[in-house]
Symmetry: C2
Subunit: 216 residues, 2 copies
């Protein structure tokens, strides 16, 4: 290789539903350019392992989550204005209740979840990367079981609908149509369990018929 | 950058329908490793333009075609066993009748179309890249107008169906259902023109309602 080979990085858009909103995990950059500003987790790819493995390792490092939905999004040039570079972006859907964020010395440097609709200007045009990831997830909601990544293994229909609504940016879905569609697609199935919450009628728990990606 | 930065290349899977079969454009590699064997067109990316522009330029260089469907497929590491590298793969759908293949000195080095079902072992695990491109195109047939890239502006319903069948690997589609679906989706519309071929009844010419990618 010549010394002017482009820089290669992997970055990961990590989504979770927190407070009924779609949120993305961001870290503070610890080096220039844009030291101190928020950015997607990622790092230089050195070729010692596959791109998929590098993205999965970054995900585990940040969240502790390994059994999650991880997909390559796209590769973009020109995100870093200081040098020729390509960034291979992935996105992941994680169940927030299973996440343990990586600790950092000093509160100011801790990773944090931010709602996708309320992001500041991020380093490296990362806002654009997140927008494209959101678009991909929304598109896939319609024809795959992709939402399984955001939920625990067992969940109520209300939690499932709330997850869909969060991904769609707060849009309200008709309860009856939603349930009919999800059950009709054989995407989910009832379990024997129910959950009791306060004085409400116990809610049936459901699970995805498969946690492998399937087309509907 | 350090001198051990990975190599970055763009490669393009260029599809056309020729002799009613889905074929892919291949070139002979002119350098080691695997000099002389068939490979996808591509080249080192030097950072002087965007990845999209580099892929489009390669497509024009090989086929002369510019107004075509071009989409990023995925990025893969490890295709080249001689050094750490990433290859950003694109795929393109071109109308074979509009293509003028790049000329090379000596017949043995001319680019050529090969049917996707009958490929030899290609350099750099390119067979795998082509398989994934075929899979993407087939999946998109169902919910986009992606086939517009493979056809001239005006075409008969028979040509359209034949194009779909070629992409699906020779599967026969029911003529009546196919027409009903294409017209029902508002993907195509009739024009005022007909085409006369031999003693047959003149065939109506159709066009895509849009040649921009749309979801059905």
């Amino acid at each position: 290789m010549t010394s002017d080979a482009p820089a290669v990085a992997t970055i990961v858009v990590i989504f979770a539903i927190i407070d009924e909103r779609l949120q993305v995990l961001l870290v503070h950059r610890d080096a220039d350019p844009d030291a101190g500003s928020w950015a997607l987790p990622g790092g230089v790819w050195d070729g010692s392992r596959s791109l998929d493995d590098a993205a999965a390792a970054k995900l585990v490092e940040e969240t502790g989550a390994s059994d999650v939905y991880l997909e390559q999004l796209f590769t973009q040039s020109g995100l870093d204005h200081t040098q020729p570079s390509v960034a291979i972006a992935y996105f992941a859907l994680v169940d927030a209740s299973a996440v343990r964020l990586r600790a950092e010395p000093g509160d100011a440097w801790r990773p944090a979840w931010l709602p996708v609709g309320e992001l500041p200007r991020l380093a490296f045009a990362n806002n654009l990367v997140i927008e494209q990831a959101v678009e991909r997830v929304r598109a896939k909601l319609d024809y795959t079981n992709i939402a399984y990544g955001l939920l625990p293994e067992r969940f109520t229909l209300r939690e499932l609908q709330s997850t869909y609504e969060a991904i769609l940016g707060g849009e309200s879905l008709d309860r009856r149509n939603f349930r009919k569609r999800m059950l009709g697609n054989a995407v989910i199935e009832p379990t024997d369990e129910v959950r009791r919450e306060g004085a409400h009628r116990p809610a049936r728990l459901y699970r995805f018929t498969t946690r492998e990606p399937v087309f509907l």
